[in-house]
């Protein structure tokens, strides 16, 4: 593997408010290689969303450095290296599905002739080409989230930032979308940073799982997922899958103080 595509070095975040300062992240260091699928998991309030937003230059870190493709996070954002998916689809109600997927191309000033082919291909990829002319409210929650994934891929970004994208969906839809996401990632060769609070989802999707300790968030443990690829439905039935789920679950339950909440950049746990 070459040099890491995302590098965090001693990143910390403290939010100042009238009620006082809240330390969300304490000295997080980690490196993600190109083509990896890295999940960040942890209890609510462990700063995992903040971590993702710091990588995407949506939130400023209070301390530490972020390098993305050897550039600052800000430069990477301005170069449109990111595709982003939130917990809610954040589709624009006044645009039909196709126009929502076109949005990144419009913003990037791409010529109009390019606005059809790739968005339509992406909608086909997420199985929604028939719904290109629908308004977002006419679609189910799962379909809307697929549109938002297609939109994130519109500029063929090298990095996909996903902030609990399937958190609001039912279990069956979530599993189906997990499967689809892996296919999409294989076809687009994007590096993914994926925030979740579902252990099974993290194990199924990831090459590595960053387990975070709560308040202030820090990397508690890094679990390398050595399940074979491609991951299919049967993957969820493998003994190794359950072992990994157990490993992650135990890491989450353990008192970070006892385990010694150390930062192990690029390291592996199990």
């Amino acid at each position: 593997m070459g040099s890491p595509i995302i590098e965090l070095d001693g990143v910390a975040k403290t939010f100042e408010s009238r009620a006082g300062a809240t330390e969300a992240l304490r000295s997080v260091s980690l490196a993600v290689d190109a083509g990896e699928f890295v999940s960040v998991i942890g209890p609510s309030g462990c700063g995992k969303s903040s971590l993702l937003r710091i990588v995407g230059d949506l939130v400023e870190p209070s301390a530490g450095a972020v390098r993305v493709k050897g550039k600052s996070a800000r430069q990477a954002r301005l170069d449109r290296d990111y595709g982003i998916v939130f917990q809610t689809p954040v589709l624009y109600d006044w645009r039909i599905v196709l126009e929502n997927v076109q949005l990144p191309l419009e913003l990037a000033g791409r010529p109009r002739v390019e606005w059809q082919q790739r968005p339509r291909a992406l909608l086909r990829l997420v199985g929604l080409d028939e719904f290109a002319g629908h308004y977002p409210w006419q679609l189910s929650g799962g379909m809307q989230q697929r549109v938002s994934i297609a939109r994130a891929l519109a500029l063929n970004p090298s990095i996909l930032l996903m902030d609990e994208p399937f958190g609001a969906l039912d279990e069956m839809t979530r599993e189906r979308l997990n499967q689809e996401l892996l296919q999409v990632c294989t076809e687009t060769a994007a590096t993914v940073l994926f925030v979740t609070h579902s252990i099974a989802e993290a194990v199924f999707l990831s090459t590595r799982i960053i387990v975070m300790s709560p308040r202030p968030g820090a990397v508690d443990r890094v679990v390398t997922v050595d399940l074979p690829r491609p991951r299919v439905d049967e993957t969820r039935a493998q003994p190794r899958f359950f072992e990994l789920v157990t490993t992650v679950r135990q890491s989450l339950r353990e008192d970070p103080g006892l385990v010694g909440g150390h930062v192990r950049p690029g390291g592996s746990g199990s």
């Binding site: 949506l58 982003i84 624009y92 913003l107 308004y135």
Partner: protein, 247 residues
């Protein structure tokens, strides 16, 4: 409505100068005026004049309101500086302002349109500046992640997201602009419009009460038509919104 009207008249034994019969009001439209023209035609001409003033005022006020709202949403400093005056402008009775505007700008249609605009811009400014701000934080984060310029954020996110707010304001402004135009026609010197008809009818009220009632009816119809015109445009423009009015 008609039944309640006539029942009230009968029940309280109201004389015609308090409440004329509906047929008296209807017949007033067929009566011939001083110039030999039927009142239906006189009313139609004056209503058309008022409607035109209202429409110009509505447009003028809508644009002013929109510009102010975009300014306010853009700069807190501008809002702090100007908002007190904007609010103060609406606490002054329009009846007191109207004669001054007519003195300043003359008795032509223009002064009436300005008074209509005076009533129109306020709801647009207030609602639209709120709408421009009430944008989903994640929708903004998405724009930021995609390195959108502030112009793109305004025109591709804030403005379309605020359209339902704008139309709510425009529906209020539509009826207010008609009131503004009529009030602008009341001061001495005006020659056309429903305001002039109302003033004249009021002078002869004891003698011919149905005439004033007919004028009020016509004025109301202008306002209602305006409201529905705006609502119709709204249904077309924000068809994607589930908050668009049913009527």
């Amino acid at each position: 409505m008609a039944v309640i009207w006539e029942a009230a008249k009968m029940l309280f034994a109201l004389p015609s100068y308090q409440l004329p019969h509906l047929h008296e009001i209807a017949l007033d439209f067929l009566r011939e005026g001083a110039g030999g023209e039927r009142w239906l035609w006189i009313m139609t001409q004056n209503a058309g004049y008022t409607a035109l003033e209202s429409l110009i005022g509505f447009t003028l006020g809508g644009v002013t309101g929109l510009v102010l709202a975009i300014g306010f949403a853009h700069s807190r400093w501008l809002e702090r500086g100007l908002l007190p005056y904007v609010i103060a402008s609406q606490t002054v009775p329009i009846l007191a302002i109207a004669p001054m505007v007519v003195v300043w700008l003359g008795t032509s249609w223009f002064s009436k349109a300005v008074i209509a605009a005076y009533l129109t811009f306020f709801p647009v400014t207030v609602n639209m500046s709120q709408g421009l701000r009430a944008v989903d934080p994640d929708a903004l984060a998405l724009m930021r992640a995609l390195a959108a310029s502030s112009q793109q954020i305004l025109f591709k996110l804030r403005f379309p997201a605020a359209l339902p707010y704008l139309f709510t304001a425009l529906r209020i402004s539509a009826t207010a602009s008609v009131i503004g135009a009529i009030v602008g026609e009341l001061p001495v010197g005006s020659r056309f419009g429903m305001g002039v008809v109302i003033i004249n009818a009021a002078q002869y009220y004891n003698w011919r009460p149905a005439n004033l009632w007919a004028a009020i009816l016509v004025s109301a119809v202008i306002g209602i038509l305006f409201y529905h015109a705006v609502a119709a445009v709204e249904r077309r423009v924000v068809s994607w919104s589930r908050t668009a009015p049913a009527i």
